[in-house]
Protein backbone atom coordinates (compact mmCIF):
# COMPACT_ATOMS: atom_id res chain seq x y z
CA UNK A 1 0.00 0.00 0.00
CA UNK A 2 1.20 3.48 -0.90
CA UNK A 3 2.62 5.78 1.71
CA UNK A 4 0.73 9.03 1.97
CA UNK A 5 2.34 12.21 3.24
CA UNK A 6 0.81 14.16 6.09
CA UNK A 7 0.10 17.04 3.70
CA UNK A 8 -1.86 14.68 1.49
CA UNK A 9 -3.85 13.34 4.42
CA UNK A 10 -4.77 16.85 5.57
CA UNK A 11 -5.70 18.01 2.08
CA UNK A 12 -7.72 14.87 1.51
CA UNK A 13 -9.66 15.34 4.75
CA UNK A 14 -10.36 19.01 4.12
CA UNK A 15 -11.55 18.48 0.55
CA UNK A 16 -13.71 15.55 1.64
CA UNK A 17 -15.34 17.47 4.48
CA UNK A 18 -16.04 20.50 2.26
CA UNK A 19 -17.66 18.34 -0.42
CA UNK A 20 -19.78 16.50 2.15
CA UNK A 21 -20.84 19.77 3.78
CA UNK A 22 -21.89 21.25 0.45
CA UNK A 23 -23.80 18.13 -0.49
CA UNK A 24 -25.67 17.94 2.81
CA UNK A 25 -26.60 21.61 2.94
CA UNK A 26 -27.84 21.44 -0.62
CA UNK A 27 -30.00 18.42 0.18
CA UNK A 28 -31.32 19.99 3.37
CA UNK A 29 -32.27 23.19 1.55
CA UNK A 30 -33.98 21.38 -1.30
CA UNK A 31 -36.01 19.10 0.99
CA UNK A 32 -36.91 21.67 3.66
CA UNK A 33 -40.17 22.84 2.03
CA UNK A 34 -41.44 19.25 1.80
CA UNK A 35 -40.49 18.50 5.40
CA UNK A 36 -42.09 21.67 6.74
CA UNK A 37 -45.22 20.88 4.80
CA UNK A 38 -45.37 17.41 6.41
CA UNK A 39 -45.09 18.87 9.90
CA UNK A 40 -47.78 21.44 9.14
CA UNK A 41 -50.15 18.83 7.70
CA UNK A 42 -49.63 16.58 10.70
CA UNK A 43 -50.45 19.42 13.07
CA UNK A 44 -53.61 20.21 11.14
CA UNK A 45 -54.61 16.54 11.21
CA UNK A 46 -54.10 16.45 14.97
CA UNK A 47 -56.17 19.57 15.56
CA UNK A 48 -58.93 18.14 13.37
CA UNK A 49 -58.77 14.81 15.18
CA UNK A 50 -59.33 16.58 18.49
CA UNK A 51 -62.66 17.87 17.22
CA UNK A 52 -63.45 14.33 16.04
CA UNK A 53 -62.91 14.96 12.35
CA UNK A 54 -60.93 12.39 10.42
CA UNK A 55 -58.57 13.52 7.69
CA UNK A 56 -55.79 12.07 5.57
CA UNK A 57 -52.49 13.80 4.74
CA UNK A 58 -53.95 14.54 1.32
CA UNK A 59 -57.13 16.38 2.31
CA UNK A 60 -56.10 17.72 5.74
CA UNK A 61 -55.34 21.27 4.55
CA UNK A 62 -58.68 21.59 2.81
CA UNK A 63 -60.70 20.14 5.70
CA UNK A 64 -58.78 22.28 8.17
CA UNK A 65 -59.70 25.43 6.24
CA UNK A 66 -63.33 24.37 6.32
CA UNK A 67 -63.71 23.47 10.00
CA UNK A 68 -61.18 25.58 11.87
CA UNK A 69 -62.80 28.96 11.49
CA UNK A 70 -60.75 31.06 13.87
CA UNK A 71 -57.63 30.98 15.99
CA UNK A 72 -55.91 33.40 18.34
CA UNK A 73 -53.59 33.47 21.32
CA UNK A 74 -54.41 34.47 24.89
CA UNK A 75 -52.24 35.12 27.92
CA UNK A 76 -52.62 33.43 31.27
CA UNK A 77 -55.17 36.06 32.35
CA UNK A 78 -57.41 35.08 29.47
CA UNK A 79 -56.80 38.30 27.50
CA UNK A 80 -56.45 38.04 23.74
CA UNK A 81 -53.05 38.98 22.38
CA UNK A 82 -52.60 40.61 19.00
CA UNK A 83 -49.96 40.02 16.39
CA UNK A 84 -49.22 36.34 16.99
CA UNK A 85 -50.34 33.56 14.66
CA UNK A 86 -51.68 30.78 16.86
CA UNK A 87 -50.73 28.09 14.36
CA UNK A 88 -47.04 28.95 14.39
CA UNK A 89 -46.69 29.12 18.18
CA UNK A 90 -44.06 26.67 19.39
CA UNK A 91 -45.56 25.31 22.58
CA UNK A 92 -42.27 23.82 23.74
CA UNK A 93 -40.63 27.26 23.63
CA UNK A 94 -43.64 28.90 25.30
CA UNK A 95 -43.60 26.47 28.22
CA UNK A 96 -39.98 27.40 28.80
CA UNK A 97 -40.92 31.04 29.43
CA UNK A 98 -42.27 32.51 32.67
CA UNK A 99 -46.02 31.92 32.94
CA UNK A 100 -47.01 35.58 32.53
CA UNK A 101 -45.13 35.95 29.23
CA UNK A 102 -46.52 32.86 27.54
CA UNK A 103 -48.87 33.08 24.61
CA UNK A 104 -51.43 30.29 24.63
CA UNK A 105 -53.01 29.25 21.34
CA UNK A 106 -56.73 28.61 20.97
CA UNK A 107 -58.22 27.13 17.80
CA UNK A 108 -61.92 27.43 17.20
CA UNK A 109 -63.63 24.76 15.20
CA UNK A 110 -67.10 25.14 13.77
CA UNK A 111 -68.75 21.75 13.56
CA UNK A 112 -71.33 20.57 11.06
CA UNK A 113 -74.18 21.50 13.40
CA UNK A 114 -72.74 25.06 13.70
CA UNK A 115 -71.73 24.64 17.34
CA UNK A 116 -68.18 25.58 18.27
CA UNK A 117 -65.40 23.51 19.77
CA UNK A 118 -62.38 25.17 21.40
CA UNK A 119 -59.09 23.39 20.83
CA UNK A 120 -56.05 23.96 23.03
CA UNK A 121 -52.66 22.29 22.61
CA UNK A 122 -50.98 20.19 25.31
CA UNK A 123 -47.39 19.24 25.89
CA UNK A 124 -45.62 17.35 28.65
CA UNK A 125 -42.94 14.86 29.58
CA UNK A 126 -43.65 11.15 29.20
CA UNK A 127 -41.54 8.26 30.42
CA UNK A 128 -39.00 8.23 27.57
CA UNK A 129 -39.63 11.49 25.77
CA UNK A 130 -42.14 14.24 25.15
CA UNK A 131 -45.86 13.59 24.94
CA UNK A 132 -48.27 16.07 23.40
CA UNK A 133 -51.78 16.41 22.12
CA UNK A 134 -54.82 18.58 21.63
CA UNK A 135 -58.01 18.73 23.62
CA UNK A 136 -61.26 20.31 22.49
CA UNK A 137 -63.94 21.70 24.77
CA UNK A 138 -67.60 22.38 24.16
CA UNK A 139 -68.82 26.02 24.36
CA UNK A 140 -69.44 25.60 28.12
CA UNK A 141 -65.60 25.50 28.36
CA UNK A 142 -66.00 22.60 30.72
CA UNK A 143 -67.07 19.46 28.88
CA UNK A 144 -64.43 17.71 26.79
CA UNK A 145 -65.51 17.22 23.21
CA UNK A 146 -62.53 15.26 21.95
CA UNK A 147 -58.85 14.58 22.53
CA UNK A 148 -55.82 13.45 20.62
CA UNK A 149 -52.58 12.40 22.29
CA UNK A 150 -49.29 11.41 20.76
CA UNK A 151 -45.79 10.62 21.95
CA UNK A 152 -42.27 10.31 20.72
CA UNK A 153 -41.11 7.03 22.16
CA UNK A 154 -43.36 5.61 24.89
CA UNK A 155 -43.22 1.84 25.38
CA UNK A 156 -45.15 0.06 22.59
CA UNK A 157 -48.19 -1.75 23.95
CA UNK A 158 -47.99 0.08 27.29
CA UNK A 159 -47.45 3.86 27.48
CA UNK A 160 -47.75 4.15 23.70
CA UNK A 161 -51.42 3.23 24.08
CA UNK A 162 -52.19 6.88 24.88
CA UNK A 163 -52.38 7.48 21.14
CA UNK A 164 -55.07 4.83 20.66
CA UNK A 165 -58.80 5.26 20.49
CA UNK A 166 -59.71 3.05 23.44
CA UNK A 167 -57.68 5.24 25.75
CA UNK A 168 -58.85 8.57 24.32
CA UNK A 169 -62.54 7.83 23.92
CA UNK A 170 -63.43 7.86 27.65
CA UNK A 171 -62.24 11.49 27.84
CA UNK A 172 -65.22 12.59 25.78
CA UNK A 173 -67.90 14.12 27.97
CA UNK A 174 -65.68 14.42 31.05
CA UNK A 175 -65.61 17.83 32.70
CA UNK A 176 -62.63 19.83 33.93
CA UNK A 177 -64.43 22.05 36.46
CA UNK A 178 -66.09 20.89 39.64
CA UNK A 179 -69.24 22.87 40.55
CA UNK A 180 -68.31 25.09 37.58
CA UNK A 181 -65.73 27.08 39.57
CA UNK A 182 -63.08 24.76 40.95
CA UNK A 183 -60.59 23.57 38.30
CA UNK A 184 -59.94 19.85 38.78
CA UNK A 185 -58.73 18.72 35.32
CA UNK A 186 -59.19 15.05 34.46
CA UNK A 187 -57.47 12.38 36.51
CA UNK A 188 -56.05 9.23 34.97
CA UNK A 189 -56.71 6.61 37.62
CA UNK A 190 -54.93 3.35 38.11
CA UNK A 191 -57.32 0.58 38.99
CA UNK A 192 -60.00 2.21 36.90
CA UNK A 193 -62.23 5.23 37.26
CA UNK A 194 -65.80 4.91 38.52
CA UNK A 195 -68.32 5.03 35.68
CA UNK A 196 -70.08 8.07 37.09
CA UNK A 197 -66.90 10.01 37.92
CA UNK A 198 -67.00 13.08 35.64
CA UNK A 199 -63.35 14.00 36.24
CA UNK A 200 -61.49 10.70 35.76
CA UNK A 201 -60.66 8.04 33.18
CA UNK A 202 -58.93 4.64 33.35
CA UNK A 203 -55.13 4.52 33.34
CA UNK A 204 -53.18 2.03 31.25
CA UNK A 205 -52.12 -1.16 33.02
CA UNK A 206 -48.33 -1.32 32.87
CA UNK A 207 -48.18 2.24 31.62
CA UNK A 208 -48.42 3.97 34.97
CA UNK A 209 -45.69 6.56 34.44
CA UNK A 210 -47.04 7.59 31.05
CA UNK A 211 -50.59 7.72 32.46
CA UNK A 212 -49.47 9.92 35.33
CA UNK A 213 -47.44 12.08 32.93
CA UNK A 214 -50.52 12.56 30.80
CA UNK A 215 -52.55 13.54 33.84
CA UNK A 216 -49.87 16.07 34.80
CA UNK A 217 -49.78 17.42 31.24
CA UNK A 218 -53.55 17.94 31.21
CA UNK A 219 -53.46 19.68 34.54
CA UNK A 220 -50.47 21.95 33.87
CA UNK A 221 -51.53 22.96 30.36
CA UNK A 222 -55.24 23.47 31.02
CA UNK A 223 -54.83 25.40 34.25
CA UNK A 224 -53.14 28.21 32.32
CA UNK A 225 -56.35 28.67 30.36
CA UNK A 226 -58.53 28.77 33.46
CA UNK A 227 -59.24 32.55 33.30
CA UNK A 228 -59.93 32.28 29.59
CA UNK A 229 -62.32 29.37 30.12
CA UNK A 230 -64.17 31.15 32.92
CA UNK A 231 -64.54 34.44 31.01
CA UNK A 232 -65.71 32.84 27.80
CA UNK A 233 -68.03 30.08 28.93
CA UNK A 234 -71.54 30.05 27.59
Amino acid sequence: MKNFSNTYIFTFSIVMVVIVALLLSLAAMQLKPFQDKNVEVEKKQNILASIRIKSTPKDAVEIYAKYITDSYVVNNKGEKQEGVDAFTVDLKAELGKPAAERVLPVFIGTLDDQTNAFVVPLRGKGLWGPIWGYISLQPDMNTIYGTVFDHQGETPGLGAEISTEWFQKPFMGKTIFKDSTEFVSVKVLKGGAKDDDPHAVDAISGGTITSKALEAMLDSCLVQYKPYFIQNRK
Binding site: M1, K2, F4, Y8, I9, F12, S13, M16, V17, V20, L23, L24, A27, A28, L31, F34, Q35, N38, V39, E42, P57, Q152, G153, P156, G157
Partner: protein
Protein backbone atom coordinates in the same frame (compact mmCIF):
# COMPACT_ATOMS: atom_id res chain seq x y z
CA UNK B 1 -17.34 -7.86 -18.57
CA UNK B 2 -21.06 -8.30 -18.66
CA UNK B 3 -23.15 -6.33 -16.24
CA UNK B 4 -24.13 -9.37 -14.24
CA UNK B 5 -21.50 -12.03 -14.83
CA UNK B 6 -21.80 -15.24 -12.88
CA UNK B 7 -19.19 -13.96 -10.46
CA UNK B 8 -21.11 -10.76 -9.85
CA UNK B 9 -24.34 -12.68 -9.54
CA UNK B 10 -22.77 -14.64 -6.71
CA UNK B 11 -22.06 -11.33 -4.95
CA UNK B 12 -25.76 -10.65 -5.12
CA UNK B 13 -27.09 -14.09 -4.22
CA UNK B 14 -24.62 -15.28 -1.57
CA UNK B 15 -25.68 -12.74 1.07
CA UNK B 16 -29.27 -13.87 0.65
CA UNK B 17 -28.55 -17.28 2.09
CA UNK B 18 -25.12 -18.75 2.82
CA UNK B 19 -23.52 -15.43 3.76
CA UNK B 20 -26.59 -13.68 5.09
CA UNK B 21 -25.43 -10.76 7.18
CA UNK B 22 -28.11 -11.19 9.85
CA UNK B 23 -28.56 -14.94 10.24
CA UNK B 24 -25.05 -16.16 9.40
CA UNK B 25 -22.77 -13.29 10.28
CA UNK B 26 -25.10 -12.08 13.08
CA UNK B 27 -24.66 -8.40 12.18
CA UNK B 28 -27.27 -5.65 12.36
CA UNK B 29 -29.36 -7.48 14.96
CA UNK B 30 -30.07 -4.36 17.01
CA UNK B 31 -32.09 -2.58 14.36
CA UNK B 32 -33.70 -5.85 13.30
CA UNK B 33 -35.23 -6.04 16.77
CA UNK B 34 -36.22 -2.41 16.98
CA UNK B 35 -38.03 -1.61 13.77
CA UNK B 36 -39.90 -4.84 13.07
CA UNK B 37 -43.03 -4.44 15.20
CA UNK B 38 -44.84 -3.53 11.98
CA UNK B 39 -44.14 -4.59 8.41
CA UNK B 40 -44.07 -1.17 6.78
CA UNK B 41 -41.22 0.33 8.83
CA UNK B 42 -39.33 -2.94 8.34
CA UNK B 43 -39.64 -2.60 4.56
CA UNK B 44 -38.60 1.05 4.58
CA UNK B 45 -35.69 0.28 6.90
CA UNK B 46 -34.63 -2.57 4.59
CA UNK B 47 -34.73 -0.28 1.55
CA UNK B 48 -32.79 2.42 3.38
CA UNK B 49 -30.05 -0.03 4.34
CA UNK B 50 -29.87 -1.34 0.75
CA UNK B 51 -29.37 2.21 -0.52
CA UNK B 52 -26.79 3.05 2.12
CA UNK B 53 -24.70 -0.14 1.73
CA UNK B 54 -24.81 0.00 -2.07
CA UNK B 55 -23.81 3.63 -2.44
CA UNK B 56 -21.26 3.67 0.39
CA UNK B 57 -19.62 0.63 -1.21
CA UNK B 58 -19.66 2.36 -4.58
CA UNK B 59 -18.15 5.61 -3.31
CA UNK B 60 -15.52 4.00 -1.11
CA UNK B 61 -14.52 1.59 -3.86
CA UNK B 62 -14.16 4.44 -6.35
CA UNK B 63 -11.90 6.30 -3.93
CA UNK B 64 -10.09 3.25 -2.57
CA UNK B 65 -6.73 4.05 -4.18
CA UNK B 66 -6.77 7.60 -2.88
CA UNK B 67 -7.81 6.97 0.71
CA UNK B 68 -4.84 7.20 3.06
CA UNK B 69 -4.91 3.92 5.05
CA UNK B 70 -4.25 5.73 8.31
CA UNK B 71 -7.56 7.59 8.17
CA UNK B 72 -9.59 5.07 6.18
CA UNK B 73 -12.04 4.26 8.98
CA UNK B 74 -12.79 7.96 9.42
CA UNK B 75 -13.29 8.38 5.68
CA UNK B 76 -15.63 5.38 5.64
CA UNK B 77 -17.60 6.80 8.55
CA UNK B 78 -17.96 10.17 6.85
CA UNK B 79 -19.24 8.55 3.66
CA UNK B 80 -21.69 6.31 5.52
CA UNK B 81 -22.88 9.18 7.70
CA UNK B 82 -23.49 11.34 4.63
CA UNK B 83 -25.55 8.62 2.98
CA UNK B 84 -27.54 8.04 6.14
CA UNK B 85 -28.34 11.74 6.58
CA UNK B 86 -29.43 11.97 2.95
CA UNK B 87 -31.71 8.94 3.36
CA UNK B 88 -33.13 10.35 6.59
CA UNK B 89 -33.86 13.72 4.95
CA UNK B 90 -35.55 12.08 1.97
CA UNK B 91 -37.70 9.89 4.23
CA UNK B 92 -38.72 12.93 6.25
CA UNK B 93 -39.71 14.77 3.12
CA UNK B 94 -41.62 12.03 1.35
CA UNK B 95 -42.71 9.27 3.77
CA UNK B 96 -43.16 11.30 6.93
CA UNK B 97 -45.29 8.81 8.85
CA UNK B 98 -42.80 5.98 8.39
CA UNK B 99 -39.91 8.28 9.17
CA UNK B 100 -41.58 9.05 12.50
CA UNK B 101 -41.97 5.36 13.32
CA UNK B 102 -38.35 4.64 12.47
CA UNK B 103 -37.28 7.72 14.47
CA UNK B 104 -33.69 7.34 15.62
CA UNK B 105 -33.09 4.03 13.90
CA UNK B 106 -32.48 5.63 10.51
CA UNK B 107 -29.68 7.64 12.05
CA UNK B 108 -28.40 4.49 13.71
CA UNK B 109 -27.87 2.82 10.32
CA UNK B 110 -24.43 4.40 10.69
CA UNK B 111 -23.66 1.96 13.46
CA UNK B 112 -24.97 -1.00 11.51
CA UNK B 113 -22.02 -3.38 11.40
CA UNK B 114 -23.05 -4.73 8.00
CA UNK B 115 -22.11 -1.47 6.30
CA UNK B 116 -18.69 -0.90 7.84
CA UNK B 117 -18.04 -4.63 7.50
CA UNK B 118 -18.69 -4.61 3.76
CA UNK B 119 -16.61 -1.44 3.27
CA UNK B 120 -13.61 -2.93 5.03
CA UNK B 121 -13.96 -6.46 3.70
CA UNK B 122 -15.00 -5.75 0.14
CA UNK B 123 -15.12 -2.19 -1.14
CA UNK B 124 -11.54 -1.36 -0.08
CA UNK B 125 -10.21 -4.10 -2.33
CA UNK B 126 -12.59 -4.36 -5.27
CA UNK B 127 -13.70 -2.35 -8.28
CA UNK B 128 -16.75 -0.04 -7.95
CA UNK B 129 -19.29 -2.11 -9.87
CA UNK B 130 -18.77 -5.42 -8.01
CA UNK B 131 -18.73 -3.41 -4.78
CA UNK B 132 -22.05 -1.83 -5.65
CA UNK B 133 -23.56 -5.27 -6.35
CA UNK B 134 -22.09 -6.61 -3.12
CA UNK B 135 -23.73 -3.71 -1.25
CA UNK B 136 -27.10 -4.39 -2.82
CA UNK B 137 -26.78 -8.12 -2.08
CA UNK B 138 -25.99 -7.58 1.57
CA UNK B 139 -28.68 -4.94 1.89
CA UNK B 140 -31.25 -7.34 0.47
CA UNK B 141 -30.01 -10.13 2.72
CA UNK B 142 -30.66 -7.83 5.68
CA UNK B 143 -33.99 -6.57 4.33
CA UNK B 144 -35.38 -10.09 3.78
CA UNK B 145 -34.87 -11.04 7.41
CA UNK B 146 -36.43 -7.76 8.57
CA UNK B 147 -39.45 -8.28 6.35
CA UNK B 148 -40.01 -11.86 7.51
CA UNK B 149 -39.72 -10.85 11.16
CA UNK B 150 -41.87 -7.75 10.60
CA UNK B 151 -44.54 -9.80 8.84
CA UNK B 152 -44.80 -12.37 11.62
CA UNK B 153 -44.72 -9.78 14.39
CA UNK B 154 -47.39 -7.59 12.86
CA UNK B 155 -49.62 -10.54 11.97
CA UNK B 156 -49.58 -12.06 15.46
CA UNK B 157 -48.93 -8.91 17.46
CA UNK B 158 -51.52 -6.66 15.83
CA UNK B 159 -53.56 -9.09 13.72
CA UNK B 160 -52.76 -7.08 10.62
CA UNK B 161 -50.37 -6.92 7.68
CA UNK B 162 -49.27 -3.51 6.41
CA UNK B 163 -51.95 -2.00 8.61
CA UNK B 164 -54.74 -4.01 6.97
CA UNK B 165 -56.63 -6.18 9.43
CA UNK B 166 -56.11 -9.84 8.48
CA UNK B 167 -57.43 -11.73 11.47
CA UNK B 168 -61.22 -11.35 11.26
CA UNK B 169 -63.31 -9.81 14.03
CA UNK B 170 -65.12 -13.12 14.52
CA UNK B 171 -61.86 -14.62 15.85
CA UNK B 172 -61.63 -11.86 18.46
CA UNK B 173 -65.29 -12.38 19.35
CA UNK B 174 -64.52 -16.05 19.84
CA UNK B 175 -61.83 -15.15 22.36
CA UNK B 176 -58.69 -14.78 20.23
CA UNK B 177 -56.28 -12.20 21.61
CA UNK B 178 -53.33 -10.51 19.90
CA UNK B 179 -50.03 -11.78 21.23
CA UNK B 180 -48.61 -8.87 23.23
CA UNK B 181 -45.24 -10.61 23.41
CA UNK B 182 -44.85 -10.13 19.67
CA UNK B 183 -44.67 -6.37 20.14
CA UNK B 184 -41.72 -6.68 22.51
CA UNK B 185 -38.18 -6.86 21.09
CA UNK B 186 -37.64 -10.21 22.80
CA UNK B 187 -39.86 -11.98 20.32
CA UNK B 188 -37.91 -10.51 17.40
CA UNK B 189 -34.81 -12.16 18.79
CA UNK B 190 -36.65 -15.44 19.18
CA UNK B 191 -37.95 -15.16 15.61
CA UNK B 192 -34.47 -14.46 14.26
CA UNK B 193 -33.36 -17.56 16.19
CA UNK B 194 -36.11 -19.61 14.56
CA UNK B 195 -35.11 -18.34 11.11
CA UNK B 196 -31.48 -19.30 11.78
CA UNK B 197 -32.63 -22.75 12.90
CA UNK B 198 -34.71 -23.29 9.77
CA UNK B 199 -31.95 -21.97 7.52
CA UNK B 200 -29.36 -24.28 9.05
CA UNK B 201 -31.58 -27.32 8.82
CA UNK B 202 -31.66 -26.72 5.04
CA UNK B 203 -27.99 -25.81 4.69
CA UNK B 204 -25.94 -28.37 6.58
CA UNK B 205 -22.67 -26.63 5.67
CA UNK B 206 -23.61 -23.72 7.95
CA UNK B 207 -23.57 -25.95 11.02
CA UNK B 208 -20.32 -25.58 12.98
CA UNK B 209 -18.26 -28.73 13.35
CA UNK B 210 -17.54 -29.65 16.90
Amino acid sequence: MSILSSKNFKLLSNPLNLENPVTVQILGICSALAVTTKLKPAIVMGLSVIVVTAFSNLVISAMRNYIPPRIRIIVQLVVVATMVILVDQVLRAFVYDVSKQLSVYVGLIITNCIIMGRLEAFAMGNKPWPSFIDGIGNGIGYAIILIVVGFVRELFGSGAVLGIQIIPQSFYDAGYVNNGMMIMPTMALVLVGVIIWIQRSFNKELIEKE
